[in-house]
């Protein structure tokens, strides 16, 4: 697979003076960076620092405004991603890029189908795809249509797809943001394997311990500038955080006072979401933060969606003691229950609309003046949201799709908070969020609880659940299999419940 033959010392790729301007906003300033064969070079930085933009330039998706790139000492300009691919540079995008109507195998081999004569060889491709996916620790059926996969599964397919191309340099842009620890481990193993073959890897992640674990070198971007570049041995995660954010991030999780026997605001009994979740029963108290843990595919997302009326469901839901049956989101929003989707690009934001339209979409009623929408009030709301949620954007009139990934998540949060909900369900609240902002989001969640709102956090990051929740429910294969509280809130207990290993003991 690998074409890498160069000596470990000489950089495979060297970029000097890379700059990128959108309109008049300069998002990358004079970046010098290189990748050597057989190393993992991590790029870290806050949301909007310019990591993805830099990677897109290196992979030929966008031309730089200034600067040059050399491969094996030879100056290159890419006409497009395919051109870069021919040079052996491949990119796993931060956002999912798959054809939703095609199967997993068809996507993985898209553009380079195997064939026997004129026939395409579906058998061989299915086998190849199954193998590639298995290599990443998953057993997705290669015949599944991609639109039916969860985000995490799609991410895996996307990685499998890229790794099948002959490559010398592989760029991963937050590959693990939506993966669970198990899949993350499998991925890191794969990365080590390709590194051993002499491939150069550029790796972006907001999970600093993971960076510490896999990287050989770490480069930090801040506000589009390269602020530091070190061997990983010289840095601890805390140092990385400081370099990124420009201050100490001492305590990630806020202090919480345990809730005391408050009234129950939500009671769910025997809720079934056909095909995804069975017989779910739980209660949510006022001012409580309730966590939902589980592995990819455990059905947490679908359970929540079923509860708020986004999917057909059967069972009893009581809100403030009254039985409710939400037929659509409109009804649940009215009751003060909001759900923030984990799929912010597909279900959270209108990527081709500007920030204001996105921000006020769910709560337009609040912005109606005499007859029409009060644009002044809207724009004030945006200013406030940008302040409150620290949304980093050069300009306020860009499209939501032009925000960096993390800032999109913040915009989504701001959008749903405008509804002033009493119950907030957040699915993967910090997916793709940098460490400084995570801290802010956690603080924010804690503040919501203190204000007397109730919060459900669905997350695949166990430390975060443990850090902020009062209680954690664990799901496996569509069922709630246990609850952990107090001293039992540790990764080990959760994993045991989530995987079903040592079942008797856990029950």
């Amino acid at each position: 697979m690998s074409l890498a033959e160069a000596s470990p010392a000489a950089p495979l790729l060297e970029a000097t003076g890379l700059s990128k301007t959108f309109g008049i906003v300069e998002v990358l300033k004079d970046i010098n960076i290189n990748v050597r064969a057989g190393e993992v070079h991590a790029i870290i930085g806050e949301n909007g620092a310019g990591k993805s933009t830099l990677m897109k330039i290196i992979a030929g998706n966008q031309p730089p405004t200034r600067g040059e790139m050399r491969i094996d000492g030879e100056t290159v300009t890419f006409s497009g991603p395919v051109d870069a691919e021919h040079r052996g540079i491949v990119l796993v995008h931060q956002e999912i890029l798959l054809a939703p109507d095609l199967t997993v195998a068809q996507n993985i081999y898209l553009g380079r189908e195997l064939h026997k004569g004129v026939f395409i060889d579906d058998r061989a491709m299915n086998e190849g795809a199954a193998k590639a996916v298995r290599g990443l620790g998953s057993d997705i059926d290669p015949n599944t249509i991609v639109s039916r996969l969860s985000i995490a599964q799609r991410q895996l397919v996307q990685i499998a797809r890229v790794l099948l191309v002959p490559h010398r340099i592989v760029i991963f842009d937050e590959p693990t943001a939506s993966l669970t620890p198990h899949e993350t481990d499998a991925l890191l193993k794969v990365i080590r394997q390709i590194r051993a073959k002499g491939v150069g890897v550029l790796y972006i992640s907001h999970r600093l311990p993971e960076v510490k674990e896999i990287a050989d070198r770490v480069t930090v971007l801040r506000d589009g500038k390269l602020v530091a570049s070190h061997d990983v041995s010289e840095l601890q995660p805390a140092d990385m955080a400081r370099l990124m954010v420009g201050r100490d991030v001492a305590k990630l999780y806020p202090d919480r006072h345990a809730v005391e026997a408050h009234e129950t605001v939500l009671e769910v009994e025997h809720l079934n979401v056909p095909g995804y979740a069975q017989d779910a029963s739980f209660q949510l108290k006022k001012g409580e933060i309730l966590g939902f843990a589980g592995l990819v595919g455990a059905g947490r997302t679908e359970l929540m969606e079923g509860m708020v009326g986004l999917r057909p469901s059967r069972g009893t839901v009581r809100h403030l003691g009254k039985p409710v049956n939400f037929r659509d989101v409109h009804a649940s929003l009215k009751a003060g229950i909001v759900y923030l989707s984990e799929d912010r690009k597909g279900k959270g934001l209108l990527l081709t609309k500007d920030l204001i339209v996105n921000l006020t979409l769910a709560s337009l009623g609040k912005f109606i003046g005499a007859l029409q929408i009060d644009r002044k009030r809207e724009s004030d709301a945006l200013d406030k949201a940008i302040r409150d949620f620290d949304i980093r954007t050069g300009r306020k009139d860009i499209l939501a799709g032009q925000l960096s990934g993390g800032n999109q998540q913040k915009l989504l949060l701001a959008k749903m908070m405008l509804l002033d909900p009493s119950i907030v369900i957040i699915d993967e609240p910090t997916r793709g969020i940098d460490i400084g902002n995570k801290e802010q989001i956690y603080k924010f969640i804690a503040k919501l609880a203190e204000e007397g709102r109730s919060i459900i956090v669905v997350s695949s990051e166990m430390p975060e659940l443990i850090g902020i929740c009062d209680r954690i429910l664990v799901m496996r294969s569509g069922r709630i299999v246990g609850e952990v509280t107090g001293d039992h809130m540790n990764e080990n207990e959760i994993v045991v419940l989530a995987t079903g290993v040592n079942k008797e003991e856990a029950a």
Partner: protein, 333 residues
Amino acid sequence: MANVATETAKAPKTSKDWDMAAIAPFIALALLLVLGYFANPNFMTSANLLNVVTRSSFIAVIALGATYVITSGGLDLSVGAMLAFVASLMILFLNSGTIADPALALVAGMALAIAIGAVCGLANGLITTIGRIEPFIATLGTMGIYRGLTTWLSQGGAITVRDRDILALYRPVYSGSFVGVPVPIIVIFVTAAIAAFVLYRTRYGRHVTAVGSNEDVARYSGISINRVRTVTYVIQGLCVAVAVLLYVPRLGSTSATTGSFWELQAITAVVVGGTALRGGVGRIWGTICGAFILEIVGNIMLLSNFVSEYLIGAIQGAIIIIAMLVQRSLMRR
């Protein structure tokens, strides 16, 4: 934490694109006017231009409704047939003599037309949303139904307003003018202004755009997709009804072929005006411009002397394509 790049630029590439897309149809229109000027000296007379704009009123008003439907991600092929159907029922009512007083009968007839238009639109909306049938097919089906019913009502012939008093009273709605401006032109601009206000300034308009832009996002934001879509079809029905109100006084009669192909013309006007067929972007004023462009192309053809009558269709097709190419190349700047 320093707030990094808060410098706001005046003209990012993105919003320039947008502007160009909005302006392009008007530039195409201007070019056509120049072409017309050279094709025939009579083209630029106010009499001719008023004629052209006046008779574009049916398509323009219908296309306003189509802008809503298309913006929300739908399509309505039934509008031409619906126009014929609503107009037939309106005339049959006027002829029925249910109400003796002409003025009263006329007002009742107009109200009836509006109501029927809304109901027809509602039917389209419910079939596509609740019935979950692709709008293309659903409205092709209702096109057949409305057209068939019209043929049946008219027994294949024409349905003509019989009462001369009513007609005399009604005629000015098409041929009259107000401070020198023909009534239909006023109707075009008033309807467009209302349509623009609703689409750009109200909650419902925002929702229409959101639904067309990304259905899932709209749904997760608590917007009832089906309701929003259905209402766009009702708006389309109302626009058709307004077109009927203008159409009936013109010839005072309808037939089974009234409004054939108007659906294609309305959709063309919408697209020429810069609204994307995939939904999510609606340009009301562009649509009006598109309707003018279509009518002017036809007018230039008829006025110019150098085209064989057999080739008019071909040249018309070619001009539309060229107009779109001009737009595209403007936008690429």
